[in-house]
Assembly symmetry: none
Homo-oligomer: 148 residues x 2
């Protein structure tokens, strides 16, 4: 945005300079003032139009209302699987937070630990789940019924 304003102003300055340079030529005409104004008006209205379009196009103003979907059976964790994979309680917490779409930093803040700690937990979790990415970890965990 700052850049846009800058360009805008610059163009304006250049325009004024050009018009000033050609001022005398315009003055010898009968309706120089009108021509001058017309040109400026045209150019700047075009500029303004372009700017307005440009600046507001990606403004969708979408309103989203939450819809709670009635869920069938309550979730039940596959404890056997948890033990089989050797996943600790703390790691499960990290896993749930991860599934909720939180970043490591946010998880750290929520669980009152450092970001580094979260990273270690997450790393070990990826090992145990054979995952390489957190999205994959979440997906696998859901399939394994470790999280809802």
């Amino acid at each position: 945005m700052r850049k846009t304003v800058l360009v805008y102003g610059l163009l304006g300055g250049v325009l004024v300079a050009i018009l000033k340079a050609t001022e005398y030529r315009f003055l010898v005409l009968e309706h120089s003032l009108e021509i001058y104004g017309g040109i400026v008006a045209l150019i700047f209205s075009g500029l303004g139009l372009w700017l307005g379009l440009k600046r507001t196009r990606p403004k969708h103003t979408v309103e989203v209302r939450e819809v709670l979907v009635p869920v069938g059976g309550p979730f039940e964790r596959d404890v056997a699987r948890v033990e089989q994979l050797g996943i600790t309680p703390r790691e499960l917490e990290i896993l749930e937070a991860m599934a909720a779409g939180l970043s490591n930093r946010e998880i750290a803040g929520r669980l009152f630990v450092s970001e580094n700690t979260v990273k270690t937990h997450a790393g070990r979790l990826f090992d145990k789940l054979s995952a390489r990415r957190r999205t994959q970890a979440v997906q696998l965990a859901k399939e394994a019924r470790l999280i809802p």
Copy 2:
């Protein structure tokens, strides 16, 4: 649109008339030309801006419908929601791949496009879903019944 042009032209004419009427007052000033141009530029750029806004504003007029969906049957995409959010088919594909735990590079390979393309799609998706991370995007998309 025709009407708009008419109004626009009319306003321009009126403006020129006003400026013409006050021409002599301006002329006694030293930098009358610059002032004149500046005023015209300001007014018309404002006008153009307003016009640009006006013309693109009634883009969507989003209608929010709340639908309670009975659970149990196979997954059915909430098409209304998809349209509300303005999510394109291609973006949905990326979303599904993302939910499957694939990286951008893997998605790119699977859909036979470049990684950059996947990133742009993903970026727009995050915008539309108001998400900052892919895990969050997946989570929100599932809540909105965009993906299973």
